[in-house]
Amino acid sequence: MKLEHILPRALGDSHSECASIFTSLVMGAHFERSRARSLGWRGVRPSASEHPAWTCRVAGSGLVFGIRFDGEERCVAASHAVSPDSDQAASAPHCLRGYFSLYAFPPADSPLLDSFPLAALQRALSPGYEDAIREFSGGEPAFQAFRMGQLRLDASFAGDALALTLEAPARHRVLAADGIAADARADAPETVWLVAPGAPECDVPAFRLFMRLFAVLAATAEQRLDEKAAVSRGLSSMPRMCFHRDGRMENCPEEKEFLMNCTASFGPSLAPAGEALTPLRSLPARYRTEEPERRSLPVLHVLTGFLGAGKTTFLRRWLDFLHGRERYTGVIQNEFGKVALDAALMKGDTVVEALDEGCVCCSLADSLRPGLERIIAAMPAEQFVLETTGLANPANVMEALNGLRDLVAPGLVITVADALDLRGDTGLSPGAPGPENAGIRRAQIRKADVIIVNKSDMVSPAELEALISRLRALNGKALVLPARYGNIPFAKLDAWLDAHSEARLPSHVPHILPMEQRDVTHAEEGYSARIVTFEEPVSLETLKRLIARPGLCRAKGIIPIEGKGICIVQYAAARLEITPAPGEIPAGLTLIGTNPAI
């Protein structure tokens, strides 16, 4: 056991050395998200107000935990003090003992809260509870009522021993000797009791609540130290507290509160003298991932959305989010038409594998495997995104992916919907289906696990609301998120995938069609693409004439425009965007639509 694997320096006298060890322990486990998750971590937030403190969630518990560093002291472990061959004075401090308060914050609607102290319940029912938890260490007195246990961290100055100990009452019970009346007229004959005289004001199974958190911490230490912890438990008792109406607290002579502790230790024991410990064979409540084989394969998300809905814009923003957190993600891009404009736009963002001139949902299904193999070989990342053409039917793509289960684990199907395109006629009667209810658009909405309603700022709030309820009617299981320029709270995608790790995502539900019927493809809807190149700069009028042709629904490209130089041209849902791009190489204009003349 080498403490330097967690903190690569000797311990000093900063009075916060144990906080440093704790920070390093937890932070070091979070370099790779999948590793942190397989240990059971479900999010951590440091909160430095006043004391070093953290809030976190762990797998298998609905609570938010608060951990606050209270301080540390030098000490001598029992094993060290009695060592007969030691030259040192028996009392010389040889380890540091740090204390951390543990807080348990159940969700406001959790029945568990009903057994918490009344002050805790009252705080939880007040506005802003969940946000205030984030700063629990800031000294708000009401949060004291959530403090239910303690974590001890012992570390030897020699760097050869570390121990983590959870200590909490088996049941944290405080008796209200005089009861607590529900109104001020407590002495009225018809007193209504919130807590009857002599009954417990709170009764919380504190030790059990913290056990999952402790198991995650101990497993994290095991991984960092590359050593199995020696686990033991102990029990001691203290008098139960009794509360009187005048505010007095006193020991309740008849009753005892049992303090339980569990220690995970590495190296020589650092237990204080007098602690009776029973060894355990393994760590109780240890988190085990349900599907270990699933974790070994990279996850493949599928991104769909009708022509021009904003898939690439969304993707670039998502990648920015992921890469800012060192979650490297490769992209397989498939475009309808010869020119890989999207790939050009993503240049330098990440590794992009382009599958061109065809569509993965039909003609390119066979080239998906070699494409995936190429990108996985080039960048063995933990996740990839397949960006399909705007005309791809995800049902057909999912079918193709079923044959690739040896390469990738299925992730989310995300459909970017275009609020402008789908808002329909302004005269649409309430409840009537809009353009989303037909053909490829419908297929993309129906198969989505997440629907991003993009360009939500381009329609009125009422139109947006109506559209969202129509989308929900088509697909009640998907997470629906309105977006502007493809911006969503991206962490919600992770949370959505996590929440559905056991229950099936809509995209994975087998799609049963009536006999003789196949899923719609864009070929049947008569879409085709054509590329127009321009030797000379084209005038704005010519461009507008070109895109005004009946049946044309999408145009994109890099072309020279009179007076503007080289520009990126994007056209979808009757909106034309021209962005000067001086450094780009002209690549022609791809026109996509249903008119054969295009």
């Binding site: 009344l118 007195p141 800012g324």
Partner: protein, 383 residues
Amino acid sequence: MNRREFLKGASLGLGAGALGAMGLYSYTPARSAFLPDVNRQMADFGVCRSVKVTNISETSWFDNGVFMKNVTGAGGLLVDQYTFNWAPFGNGKGIGKGSYEEGIARIKPYIQKGDLHGAWAVARENSVDADNAGGFSCLVEVEAMDGKVSRYLFDCGWNYDWMEESFKREGIDNMLANGEIDGFIQTHEHMDHYWAFPVVAKYGPSVHVYTPSTFYPQGKQYIKDSGHTGEVTEVKKGLFSLQPGVALYQFECPIIFKVFGEMSLYCNVKDVGLVSITGCCHQGIILFADTAYKELKYEKDQFYGLYGGLHISPFDDWDPKYDDLVIGLKKWNLQRVGCNHCTGLITAQKFVDAGYPVVQGTARFRSKTTNYLGNGDIITFPA
């Protein structure tokens, strides 16, 4: 009576009564009762008049795709940076099979001659994707209350060729040679911030170097192997004062690629507020800002300005709606921001969209967006 229903409904009148008194007790194990309480310390580290930051280079590497191929190919984020076979410590054995000792042996003769271009050429032969390397470095000029200007070189980049060119562009080579740099601050040991150190040592071998105390042995050896002869100060965790109004803060945190500890620079500008300069902010901007609030006394209690790369947090937030840098920084009400490097091109765009006071750059010398304070750009605090 159901306590939840009661508290939801008629609780207000009860607050001062029995329930109020009840809330004061808590679980207090006897053992921790004597521990001293820790309060907001508010260290007074003086004031300065103004701060000017010149971005020498913020482009750590030029193609993210190539970089990510390197990282995933070598085994991921836990791999020791010295074993990647990145330049200049290549040994010709391929990705993930390098070592500091073998790498430095090949280039040391060139470094000793001052032929850094030659050293990098050798490194290029033996390393993976040497030309993708760029670097992070900036010059911080602090005007003291008496008008005297101190200059701190803040990190030194990665690629010898790129950094020598960038130093020359901003005149750093001459400043080092003329002893006009008062201190060289190495924020952390990462390759893109540190591995062009021989360029610093070539022009200013005696410059005073500040590093976190937790450099690994290779990192410490590299200072010597680069021909540096001046003083080296290893900064322990916490606050370290450089001059009135200017202090380093060492955050102890493990960082990807087996690096430990990162320093940031805090400047307290008279009548303006706190200005912070970061390398990557691996400790996370949330902890970084909270720490300043908790531990430092600064003008007008105003967190005024920020320059550098901004990592939001090393963790996923447990509440997905908060996992966003724009939201995370809102409460500080910053007045002047120059972001770049690892911030993210689109995050920078989001700052602009959200109305943050982002100082725009000029997107020159291979910087990619005007939302970044790019290579060769300058930001001053106050404006």
